[in-house]
């Protein structure tokens, strides 16, 4: 795929939603881009990092989302156009700064700033499906949300205009079915010229005298609302006297359009689609709703628009209009918006039979297909260092016999809690939370707490937010073992670089921060081991578990997918001695270690392996209790 600045204006290309957002930013002349990886937002920064030009466009992976939004906001105060991209969970980390930024605005230099936040309705790749639209109300900030990739491009430009005009940052909401959908996009012109950045030291941007500034902010929001009343991306399609109006935003629009087509309701039902979702363009909305006897609100995930629309109806004396949606139970309160959900809600309201699958076919599927379909859970890749690390941890905890308690966080190590993991992590929340929760548990000795406490985190999370928690643990003298699974990548989201990898988002060299030195400088005792040496790793875990103070064990081994990308070959060839293998009687390598390359062959009853999956890591050689597996170095 070509870099997004290579496409000629007027030509059409197939772009991922996140690439469309990035292209829109390029076409509007964005200068300073920051972010932290998180599905489904992760492709925005790399798309722009491919097009950087000194003095014109900078793109970075920041250490965390707070640093990202601070950097972007600062660049806007210096007169630049900036953008920061993250997932919903990351925005939560950045809120302290963001709520103050609303009060100060972006200053007088004419800069603009978009905070792009991508939600993951249904939690396809997330620990929650939190709806970040509430944060626009919470932070008193404007928010926009596109429907298609092409609109995503245009709406970025519009949002920059609003930001620049009102000296206010604008939230731009993405969601999985936009960010990870691909559509044909027609390219616009790319601007020429380089900006001049400088700060205006005659003004102080701070939130204090906050009552006054809050009032100014509320007035600014009304001015933005007045602009939103005219926004060309808010549309109404349908009859003048509709029997019902669907109020849709984001994924709700296309779902509604398809359901109306399927049910043949296009002549009877209006479709009101909102791209400016906060503040609500109330006058425009009421103008289109005042003649509708009933409404259906289609959005994801929470009833955010539904709440705002109901408020507006009550305020305008239209409180008796029937509003269907999540509150009425026509649309479920959780999960993503689909054409099926829109269809079933409309069919119910209009008392039409929704088309369903042929009955005989449904029976056939239930009787002859469904029983064969076993689940395919996520697990670590073949050759993943984490499989070896958690294998060692499992062994160490069992041998230790003091019921050690493991806390974890977000990343590939999270796969431990999935059905095919080793089920060692018992407390897991957010990025770096393993360290913070372990620091709490590690101080409970006076309350009779006697279990050794073990925290795990990844290397990217370590820099992201584990460090201040580790400082807290040292300062407050917790007893804990911090295991850092250092695989030299932000692996789960696609191997983005971070402060420990020695390169930047633009693939230029960067100072490489040493995890061990950082830990030592804080005052931790540091040990380093190779997780592929599983026996030695188990031994060192046992030694460190329950020792006083903050112990750090760094398990250092590059992510197999990163290694393979560079090396292109496997270190070892594996052979299994069918005589020595005990097969189903033992099955330690397949049943317990669960390497995807190893399986019990029903034909022989012995272990076999799939060559196309095996990464040649050789860990199974150490795992096998009967020395049935051997490895030979590859040439």
């Amino acid at each position: 795929m070509a870099a997004i600045d290579k496409y000629e204006p007027g030509t059409s290309h197939f772009l991922l939603g996140n690439e469309a957002i990035a292209r829109g930013a390029l076409e509007r002349g964005v200068n300073f881009v920051t972010g932290y990886p998180g599905t489904p937002s992760s492709e925005i920064v790399p798309a722009l990092a491919q097009c950087t030009q000194k003095g014109k466009l900078h793109a970075e992976w920041s250490t965390n989302e707070l640093a990202a939004v601070e950097g972007a906001a600062a660049a806007a105060t210096a007169g630049l156009l900036s953008l920061s991209a993250m997932k919903n969970a990351g925005l939560s980390l950045a809120l302290d700064f963001i709520t103050h930024l609303s009060y100060t605005g972006l200053g007088p230099k004419g800069g603009a700033c978009l905070m792009v936040v991508c939600d993951d309705p249904h939690g396809h790749s997330s620990g929650d499906e939190t709806d970040s639209r509430w944060l626009a109300r919470f932070a008193t900030a404007p928010m926009v949300e596109p429907v298609t990739g092409q609109q995503a491009v245009e709406l970025v430009k519009y949002a920059f205009d609003i930001s620049q005009k009102h000296s206010a940052f604008v939230f731009y909401r993405g969601y999985t079915r936009l960010s990870h959908a691909s559509n044909p996009i027609t390219m616009g012109e790319l601007p020429q010229g380089a900006p001049q950045a400088s700060s205006d030291s005659s003004v102080s941007l701070n939130p204090y005298l906050s009552i006054d500034k809050h009032q100014d902010l509320l007035a600014k929001m009304e001015a933005i609302r007045a602009d939103f009343e005219q926004c060309p991306f808010n549309t109404y399609q349908g009859p003048d006297k509709p029997e019902l109006v669907v109020v849709a935003s984001g994924a709700g629009h296309l779902a509604a359009a398809e359901a109306l087509e399927t049910l043949g309701l296009e002549e009877r039902v209006g479709l009101l689609s909102l791209a400016t979702i906060w503040p609500l363009p109330t006058a425009w909305v009421i103008e289109h709703l005042k003649n509708a006897p009933q409404l259906l609100v289609l959005e994801e995930v929470d009833p955010f628009m539904e709440t705002a629309v109901k408020e507006a109806l009550v305020d305008h004396g239209l409180g008796s209009v029937a509003v269907y949606g999540k509150g009425s139970g026509h649309i479920p309160m959780s999960g993503e918006m689909t054409p099926d959900r829109a269809l079933s809600a409309l069919a119910k309201i209009f008392n039409i039979k929704a088309p369903a699958r042929d009955e005989a076919y449904e029976r056939l599927v239930q009787q002859e297909v469904a029983p064969l379909v076993i689940s395919r859970g996520l697990s670590w890749c073949a050759g993943c260092p984490h499989r070896a690390s958690f294998w060692a941890l499992d062994k160490a905890i069992k041998a230790d016999a003091r019921d050690a308690y493991v806390t974890g966080e977000i990343g590939c190590s999270t796969l431990d809690v999935f059905p095919e993991g080793k089920a060692q992590i018992k407390l897991l929340h957010s990025m770096g939370s393993g360290t913070g929760t372990a620091a709490g548990l590690g101080q409970l000795k006076p309350f009779g707490y006697s279990q050794p406490v073990v925290a795990v985190c990844g290397d990217s999370s370590f820099f992201h937010s584990s460090v201040p928690r580790l400082i807290n643990a040292v300062y407050n003298q917790a007893d804990m073992l911090q295991i850092i699974l250092d695989n030299s990548a932000t692996a789960m989201t696609g191997f983005q670089p971070h402060p420990g990898t020695g390169n930047t988002a633009e693939n230029t060299p960067a100072p490489r921060l040493d995890v061990a030195k950082v830990c030592e400088s804080i005052g931790c005792q540091v040990t380093i081991a190779d997780p592929f040496e599983v026996r030695a790793t188990t031994k060192v875990m046992r030694e460190l578990m329950g020792k006083p103070g903050v112990q750090v064990l760094i398990l250092r081994r590059t992510c197999e997918l990163v290694r393979m990308k560079a090396a292109k070959s496997h270190p070892y060839r594996i052979t299994i001695d069918q005589e020595k293998c005990k097969g189903a009687e033992c099955a330690v390598c397949s049943r317990d270690f669960r390497c995807p390359a190893l399986y019990l062959d029903p034909a022989t009853g012995k272990t076999a392996f799939k060559e196309q999956i095996c990464s040649g890591c050789g860990v199974c050689v150490e795992i096998c209790p009967f020395k049935a597996i051997s490895k030979q170095e590859n040439d």
């Binding site: 197939f14 599905t39 489904p40 992760s42 396809h124 790749s125 999985t176 079915r177 990870h180 959908a181 691909s182 559509n183 044909p184 994924a251 296309l254 779902a255 359009a257 398809e258 399927t262 993503e336 689909t338 054409p339 099926d340 269809l343 369903a356 699958r357 042929d358 076919y361 599927v365 002859e368 297909v369 469904a370 064969l372 379909v373 076993i374 689940s375 395919r376 859970g377 996520l378 697990s379 670590w380 890749c381 590939c412 059905p419 095919e420 789960m492 989201t493 696609g494 099955a587 397949s590 049943r591 669960r594 390497c595 995807p596 190893l598 399986y599 019990l600 060559e611 196309q612 999956i613």
Partner: protein
């Protein structure tokens, strides 16, 4: 050229890492260039860790559809793995659905940990044929391994798709697109994979 049905809902499924995203984008680009509206929906991110992944490619001569394929509305299922084909059939199948399936199975980790057993090739093949209007099953992995390029399974499948005639795809234009989508030193290999896929399905 009119599509039947329209929208034509192509489901492309497999296991993370098999290259089904590239395959869906190749098909999407080709159909877009042929003048159709195309929308692809994917979920990826954590899904590459051994889980099942699928894309919905929605093609229409009428308008742009959303990326989510409605339940039971699949027009054709291309699966890089047979168990995933069955999973897609149970969700998106209907009496008119077609299927193009790589018959080489990949065991879920639940099978390794002996919590579930993997269905036999015969059972999967029988169910796929029974629950589709027409199905093409062939071992695309074997072809890719013969070419010493296990990663090329998706391109073998693309060749298979062209041979089914299910979509108005011109064999030479597809070959050009394959060539343009891979690094130059891999062009010949991928073109061979593409041709072998076409032959395997045409001969089946």
């Amino acid at each position: 050229m009119p599509l039947s049905p329209d929208p034509y809902n192509l489901i492309i499924s497999g296991i993370g890492g098999q290259g089904n995203i590239l395959l869906s984008r190749l098909v999407g680009r080709l159909m877009f260039r042929a003048g159709y509206q195309v929308s692809i929906g994917e979920t990826f991110g954590a899904a590459q860790r051994g889980g099942g992944v699928f894309s919905g490619v929605r093609i229409s001569s009428k308008r742009l559809y959303g990326p989510i394929v409605p339940q039971g509305a699949g027009s054709m299922i291309i699966s890089l793995e047979p168990l995933e084909a069955l999973r897609m059939i149970s969700q998106y199948g209907n009496p008119g659905v077609k299927a193009l399936v790589n018959s080489e199975g990949i065991h879920p980790v639940a099978v390794l940990s002996q919590k579930a057993s993997y269905p036999s090739d015969e059972a999967m093949s029988a169910a796929i044929h029974k629950a589709t209007d027409k199905a093409w099953l062939f071992n695309a992995t074997k072809i890719a391994l013969e070419l010493e390029a296990p990663i090329a399974v998706n391109i073998v499948m693309l060749g298979g798709l062209v041979a089914t005639g299910a979509l108005p795809l011109d064999a030479d234009e597809v070959a050009d697109e394959v060539k343009a989508s891979v690094p130059p030193h891999l062009a010949e290999l991928n073109l061979t994979a593409y041709r072998r896929g076409m032959e395997a399905v045409a001969g089946a």
